[in-house]
């Protein structure tokens, strides 16, 4: 079993900022737009390196999405930056018509996703954004798990032609994926082999799944761990190959049970190979103020929750 090592806690949003800074240097067509959250999105360096390619749009997200759609006409690759809540729900119709239906090469980059935004509370903690974005035809939906993966994803989506939703977060979390990884959109990352259960996790829950797997091995349960960073298009083969072997699955995500990764996995299984599944997700609820760790515990989004779900799903085999 491969042991993953936390090389030091870092926020995924800084991975985005680092990726954008690098893109600024290597791709002259990349432009960035931000709705009054430059520091929060870690876009400062791009802004200072390339002021002519950085657009401060103010607190006006609908206009930002429209601007980005228009900027693609003439060959630019716009990256928009704001919180996940304001990147999706607030501007759904703008994304739907001007970006998705119009096939525009816009990268919607969303920080502070999920409940780990913490103290700001439920007005800012969107837990519905993956569902909103994956329902849009042609939209690629990515949720990264650590600094290195977020940086790699940021670089990769610039090379992908078409609209992308890139979701990341605020808290500092373990950085454990390789610095030099090649990020393949739509390709699952196989983290460790196991025989008894498949743990499929995305975003901040990936590290929790690794911790759960380690604790489970002490109980004599061998867990296979798969990181799905691309929720759409989904790597169905990787999921089916694993679940056919282990016979059951736990999905884990910082998102509502409705519309999230778990639902996509359930659809895949029910279509091709029905197997027992348990969901680690928020259960149709809004969040609240608190520290990220408190909230992950209260809403059942940590290693302990994954362990409990595993024991339950194995019983159902």
């Amino acid at each position: 079993m491969k042991k993953y090592v936390d090389t030091g806690k870092k926020d995924t949003r800084s991975g985005f900022g680092a990726g954008l800074t690098e893109l600024g240097k290597i791709n002259p067509n990349v432009v960035a737009l931000c709705a009054d959250l430059t520091g929060s999105l870690k876009m400062d360096e791009f802004k200072s390196n390339h002021p002519e390619r950085f657009f401060q749009v103010g607190v006006a997200e609908a206009n930002m999405i429209g601007l980005a759609a228009g900027m693609t006409i003439g060959g630019k690759i716009p990256f928009t930056g704001t919180f996940a809540n304001f990147s999706t729900g607030r501007v759904y119709d703008q994304i739907r018509q001007s970006v998705a239906y119009s096939h525009k090469n816009v990268k919607i980059c969303a920080s502070h996703a999920g409940i780990t935004l913490g103290e700001d509370g439920a007005t800012h903690q969107i837990l519905e954004d993956i569902g909103l974005m994956k329902m849009l035809p042609g939209m690629t939906v990515i949720n990264t798990c650590d600094f290195n993966q977020t940086k790699a994803a940021t670089l990769a989506i610039a090379e992908h032609k078409g609209p992308v939703y890139l979701r990341f977060g605020r808290p500092k979390v373990p950085n454990f994926t390789p610095e030099d990884q090649s990020f393949k959109i739509g390709k699952a990352v196989h983290l460790q082999d196991g025989e008894d259960v498949t743990l499929i996790a995305t975003g901040h829950l990936v590290w929790e799944a690794l911790e759960a797997a380690e604790a489970l091995s002490e109980k004599g349960i061998s867990a296979e761990v798969i990181n799905i960073h691309t929720i759409k298009p989904l790597d169905e083969k990787a999921i089916l190959d694993s679940v056919r072997k282990t016979g059951c699955v736990v999905t884990a995500e910082e998102h509502n049970y409705y519309g999230g990764l778990g639902e996509s996995v359930a659809r895949t299984l029910s279509t091709h190979a029905p197997h027992p599944q348990e969901f680690v997700a928020t259960m149709d609820t809004f969040g609240e103020s608190g520290t990220p760790a408190q909230l992950m515990e209260k809403y059942g989004l940590n290693a302990e929750a994954i362990i409990n779900a595993t024991l339950k799903v194995i019983d159902r085999k």
Binding site: R53, A60, M71, I73, G74, Q94, S98, Y101, H103
Partner: protein, 281 residues
């Protein structure tokens, strides 16, 4: 010098195209389309610097965006009669498997369309984005946009209007189809727009009016004037006073024909008032 006889013939022909398109499928929006016929003909035939053919990026040419996508009948007619696609294709308006969707879309690859529109209030933002890219590309060509007056009730417009002035985007001309009508009645009765001239001006735009928006010469003169005002540090707004339903007497001065097609008898009357010129599709 423009061939005014040809342009006037084309205007009449486009009116026929509008009426025939919406009549055939018993749906669509003739009122606003008729009101903007002279504008579209002037823009595509005389005002814009256009390249042959169509590519999405539009580098080295002027670009037009229609924000109030429901007036697609006039857009499709003028695009086809300006060489973007065969005029016969107007026969497929709003039919299944057609590139001529009820509201303009890029999805089916219709030449001349660069963004979907129909859900209102998004066109100025998109146009401003394209204007920013023109500047980044050192492309001196202009961006033109048309939006409805009722459409200005959508808040996104004002985000865009504020952004444009604040960023000195001066390679864009936004024309407002100022007909004072919307689906439920006059704009005054639905949600008054107030002093639109003053509002754009207060937001930092260079604003001008075309008082006779259904007079070809007035549009040609007005849009040339608007062009001369670009490149001076301010976005340019043209308030173009039009009459909804212009050219078909019973459709004029009312909101009733905003989104309603004529029946057989009404079509015959409308076509008789606009006898065939260049040739029906």
């Amino acid at each position: 010098m423009p061939d005014m006889n040809y342009l006037n013939d084309l205007i009449i022909q486009v009116r026929r195209d509008i009426l025939r398109q919406v009549h055939k499928v018993n749906s669509g929006h003739p009122g606003g389309s008729l009101g903007c016929t002279e504008f579209f003909v002037a823009l595509f035939q005389e005002i814009m610097d256009r390249k042959e053919g169509f590519d999405m990026d539009g580098i080295g040419e002027d670009i037009f965006f229609l924000s109030n996508g429901h007036i697609s009948p006039v857009f499709y007619s003028v695009l086809s009669r300006s060489g973007y696609f065969p005029v016969e294709e107007l026969n497929t308006f709003r039919l299944i498997n057609s590139r001529l969707q009820g509201h303009p879309a890029t999805h089916e690859g219709l030449p001349g369309i660069r963004v979907a529109s129909g859900s209102l209030g998004q066109g100025i933002s998109v146009a401003l984005g394209a204007a920013c890219t023109k500047k980044l590309n050192n492309d001196q060509h202009l961006i033109y946009t048309l939006c409805g007056d009722g459409e200005l009730q959508e808040g996104q417009n004002w985000e865009a209007i504020m952004f444009a002035a604040g960023n000195k985007i001066d390679n864009i001309i936004v024309t407002v189809d100022y007909n004072g009508q919307q689906i439920d009645g006059s704009t005054e009765s639905v949600l008054p727009l107030g002093n639109l001239f003053g509002k754009f001006e207060a937001f930092g735009w260079d604003v001008m009016e075309i008082k006779e928006g259904n007079n070809l010469q007035a549009i040609l003169d007005g849009m040339k004037e608007a062009k001369s005002r670009t490149g001076k540090g301010k976005p340019v707004c043209v308030l173009m006073h039009t009459v909804m339903g212009h050219g078909v007497d019973f459709m004029m001065h009312t909101h009733a024909w905003h989104g309603k097609a004529p029946n057989d008898e009404q079509l015959a009357i409308g076509l008789a008032q606009n006898p065939e010129t260049i040739g029906d599709y």
